[in-house]
């Protein structure tokens, strides 16, 4: 696995995420979100999982940002008023504490890298996680019905 590839992807992901949380223009943030997730899909390729990468690209990097943009248009949001400095301080502090705390724990024992092809993943999806797979379908159904019920116009 190429160190350079990982470094470039990681840099792009972090940069994209920073734009998402810092940009005052919400459209820029949404576009940055799409790019960030696109680079995460690249990360999955690096991890030897093209299936995951494709789905990440289709769902997270395409569908979700488009939906987000649609909502942005509907609600006519453009700019995000910056939060007060205190918020930034608190949030920054929290994030820093979280990071530093985690860094200390990152001594995970090294193990060999062993990727798995798409068929393997697909087979496992319908054997090992058959029940969760079905549950996920209920979850999507619930979300769909919920969204319809909450958003549809009142019938007279």
């Amino acid at each position: 696995m190429s160190v350079l590839g990982f470094a470039i992807l990681a840099g792009l992901i972090i940069a994209g995420a920073l734009v998402v949380v810092l940009s005052e223009n919400i459209v820029h943030a949404a576009v940055a979100l799409a790019f960030t997730f696109f680079f995460v899909a690249g990360l999955y390729v690096l991890l030897g999982s093209p299936l995951l990468a494709v789905i990440q690209f289709a769902v997270n990097a395409a569908a979700i940002p488009i939906l987000t943009l649609f909502i942005i248009m509907t609600t006519q949001s453009r700019r995000i008023r910056p939060a007060s400095g205190v918020f930034y301080l608190v949030a920054g502090f929290l994030a820093l504490v979280f990071l530093v705390g985690l860094w200390g724990y990152l001594g995970a024992p090294e193990t060999a890298f062993r990727p798995l092809g798409p068929e393997g993943l697909g087979v496992r999806l319908l054997t090992v996680t058959l029940l969760p797979f079905e549950v996920a379908s209920v979850l999507l159904l619930l979300a769909m019905v919920g969204a319809v019920v909450l958003a549809r116009r009142r019938e007279e």
Partner: protein, 469 residues
């Protein structure tokens, strides 16, 4: 196979209701009846298959604990469906779909409690959480409903994400998603990464249980939702997460003291601050919301102590809270339907105008306060006894003293309802089906308050099996 039947029953029942709802435009009463029948059937099946032991599809465990989750969640769903019989097709976005979310929410809770791996646990949690997001937002025509639900969703999503990240770290630390393997790794000496993950998972679950300091969403969500929906928000997710927390700790995290001690601290904060904040409330929904935070603190105390008795005490607390807390919200619903706003001011003189409703509501509030003879008292007693059994006396003394605060604010409500003069004259006509529901709940409060042995032995059995894995 009984457990699998129940799971299918809830999933397909929800599907059926969701499909039938648009066809039956005006028939939400029929769907309420069907939903109640499904829940009743699930309860009967759960009792019949209480001692069933099986592993379904390698990730759902049929055990007395799962059956217990079915019983409590179905009871919550049953009561909420009953409470929704009362009024308001005209008020609801989709009158019939409401019931599908009750069924799916219960399904999520059952899966969460019965799961044997992180994945199903997470999906079950999300399923039950999404159902509550929708229910919180259900009263579409009120601004508060949308706002409360939004806050609920944002903080719920945040907590899910934290929990999820915790799970990721547990997975990274132990290399497995299965509870049994994680437990084995924890018993060998938890990897630091996994321990951190367990703590993050605790934070996420603390959000769901509304423990201080992760409680900010509770008052707004409860205030915004219709009381019937709030009754569901206050009971079902707590049952699912409470039992799920016990299951997760026992099945996966073994005995990591750091995690249980953190839970103890959260519990302590919750019953101290929840009770203190509740003192200042004049809106009854917010009062109940803050008191819920306090109640969840006592519940978490039982969970943190653990062991068969501690968990059974927590289970009994859930049962008592489900009955009394639910009844309190239904009483608010009945009063609101009769035109009485849910504030202490509005409840003044309620006894003169609606004596039956007032007395039944009083039983609920007295049970919440912990008056002997009602289930709420024994629930607190068991949690306190559990802490005494492990010698936690400093916490115990704080806990018993905070119950005095609870008495104060619950009695303030009763004082308004029974002792003040009403502002308006005239008897209120209270919805009879809600009144019947309140009567049943009051009866259950008294039943479990006088004769707890049957319920408690069932709870002990469930947790004995869980711990004896």
């Amino acid at each position: 196979m009984i457990t699998l039947t129940i799971v299918l029953l809830l999933a397909l029942g929800g599907l059926g209701v969701a499909l039938a709802a648009p066809l039956l435009k005006r028939g939400s009463g029929v769907l309420a009846g069907v939903t109640m029948a499904i829940f009743a059937l699930a309860m009967i099946l759960a009792v019949a298959g209480f001692n069933e032991r099986a592993l379904i599809f390698g990730s759902l465990e049929a055990s007395p604990l799962t059956a217990l989750a079915v019983l409590l969640l179905s009871a919550a769903g049953f009561f909420v469906a009953w409470g929704n019989l009362a009024r308001g097709e005209e008020l609801w976005g989709g009158p019939g779909e409401f019931f599908a979310f009750l069924l799916w929410g219960a399904l999520g809770g059952v899966l969460l409690v019965g799961s044997t791996n992180l994945l199903l646990f997470f999906l079950g949690l999300e399923l039950s959480a999404y159902a509550t997001y929708v229910l919180a937002a259900y009263d579409r025509d009120r601004k508060e409903s949308a706002e409360g639900a939004m806050k609920y969703l944002v903080l719920g999503a945040l907590s899910s994400a934290i929990l999820l990240y915790g799970f990721a770290l547990v997975y990274a630390g132990t290399g497995s998603m299965e509870f049994a393997a994680i437990r084995a790794a924890f018993l060998k000496g938890a990897p630091a990464l996994a321990l951190l993950g367990a703590l993050l998972a605790l934070v996420g679950l603390g959000f769901k249980l509304a423990l201080v300091p992760f409680h900010a969403w509770v008052p707004d969500a409860y205030q915004g939702a219709r009381p019937v929906a709030a009754a569901y928000l206050a009971s079902a997710p707590k049952i699912a997460v409470g039992l799920g927390l016990a299951a997760l700790f026992v099945r996966a995290f073994g005995p990591p003291d750091a995690v249980t001690q953190s839970l103890l601290v959260l519990a302590l904060f919750s019953f101290v601050f929840g009770n203190l904040w509740a003192l200042a409330q004049t809106n009854l929904k917010r009062l109940l919301a803050y008191s819920t935070i306090a109640h969840m603190g006592y519940l978490a105390l039982g969970l943190a102590i653990g062991g068969t008795f501690g968990y059974a005490a927590a289970g009994f607390y859930l049962l008592a809270y489900l009955i009394a807390g639910g009844a309190a919200f239904f009483a608010l619903e009945a009063a609101e339907a009769a035109g009485v706003p849910s504030t202490i001011e509005g409840w003044k003189g309620l006894f003169k105008r609606a004596p039956g409703l007032s007395v039944l509501a009083a039983i609920a509030f007295l049970s919440l306060a912990g008056v002997p003879g009602l289930a709420g008292f024994l629930a607190k007693l068991y949690v306190f006894a559990a802490s005494a059994k492990v010698g936690l006396f400093a916490v115990l003394v704080v806990a018993v003293l905070t119950t005095v605060l609870g008495y104060y604010y619950y009695f303030r409500v009763l004082q308004a309802a029974f002792l003040e003069a009403p502002k308006e004259e005239g008897r209120l006509s209270v919805n009879p089906s809600l009144l019947a529901l309140l009567f049943v709940l009051a009866g259950l409060s008294i039943l479990f308050g006088v004769w707890p042995a049957g319920a408690f032995s069932g709870l002990e059995q469930a947790f004995r099996v869980l711990i004896g894995l």
